[in-house]
Amino acid sequence: MTAGATYTPIATQTLGSAAASVTFSSISQSYTDLVLVLNAGCSGSTEQDTYVVINGDTGSNYSQTYFAGDGTSASSGRAANVSDATIGYPIRPTLITTIICNFSNYSNSTTYKTWLSKDASADSLVFVVAGLWRNTNAITSLLFKPSNSRNFLTGSTFTLYGILAA
């Protein structure tokens, strides 16, 4: 009944210097789901979003619904027809954020692509988001960047895993 082990690291990037973005390109189409594990901080003096750009698409083809708790209150919101696709908030200059983002059925060419992400930023916020890319193309590249042209800090790590369903 079983098909064996899966949850395979595809690629890892550890920044040796600050970078405005990190890209995984030529992503293998051999898996069912992708999981990004991000552990990063960013430059500047204010908290930023972490955005994803799929297959280089910078058009207003994304939307999202989020939910957050800051230790005192909970909030939720949505955005439609946006080019800024959030997988996490906040990323901060001095505190490291951890994001685990799931891209389901990323290689099919029939459905729009959806992601489901959790972000835990120490001493700040817990944030979850469901996002949509209105495109049926298979995902072949993922670019991640802080909002407002900030840089990811040196030492930030990004690992992309593939999960293959039986």
């Binding site: 069912t32 619904t65 909970a74 939720s76 959806t114 988001v129 469901a130």
Partner: protein, 205 residues
């Protein structure tokens, strides 16, 4: 004399790494605790789907769903999960949910399923599929009630019928000490649609 057993006992971790494929013709030893058990993609619309005869050889289960419900008006649909075909009032749940406006929390006791709030599934009207990641810890244990947690979300670019997308977390409890051998998925909002996929994974302890 044929080799009947291989063991890493006696190797240091460094030398073991150098030796993990030393038998000519053998695949490299690649340990992993996360295994794919089975997957189903629905070929037609159906009221429910069941994983049956689940092996008890793992410590935890994870189900990754990418699914849609046939539903008019709204872009999200709730999910229902039952174990071992138990349709009695032996479940309880708590949800915390974001729907784009005021977040809310809810809970119910003595339910007939684990109800994963509103947005485990996308809908045919919204045109999208929802993601849900469901963890069932210690599912084969016969001494404890079973606990399930879900992380689910759907977005469909705006609102339909006055409601937008959904993202939320659910905890559920099944008041039964039997090992879980089957899991049934359905939705009180409509049939599960074609192309919905349910992937079952086992995690070793």
């Amino acid at each position: 004399m044929g080799i009947t057993k291989m063991s890493k006992v006696g190797f240091t971790s460094a030398s073991y790494l150098k030796s993990d494929s030393f038998l000519v013709g053998n695949a490299a030893f690649s340990p992993s605790s996360y295994e794919s058990i089975t997957t189903t993609t629905l070929g037609s619309s159906t009221s429910s789907f069941t994983f049956s005869s689940i092996p008890a050889t793992y410590t935890h289960l994870q189900i990754r769903c990418f699914a849609q419900v046939v539903r008019n008006t709204f872009g999200i649909a709730s999910g229902n999960i039952q174990f071992n075909s138990d349709t009695g009032s032996n479940y309880s749940i708590h949800n915390v949910t974001g729907i784009g406006g005021t977040p809310y929390a809810s809970g119910s006791a003595n339910t007939t399923s684990v109800v994963t709030a509103d947005g485990m599934y996308g809908t045919t009207t919204g045109g999208t599929f929802g993601i849900s990641i469901i963890d069932i810890l210690d599912y084969a244990n016969t001494s404890k009630y079973k606990t399930v947690r879900t992380f689910a979300g759907t977005d469909f670019n705006g609102t339909l019928g006055g409601y937008g997308g959904f993202v939320g977390l659910t905890s559920g409890n099944w008041r039964n000490t039997n090992a879980i051998t089957s899991i049934t998925f359905s939705s009180s909002d409509g049939n599960l649609n074609t192309y919905s996929s349910f992937a079952l994974y086992g995690i070793k302890g």
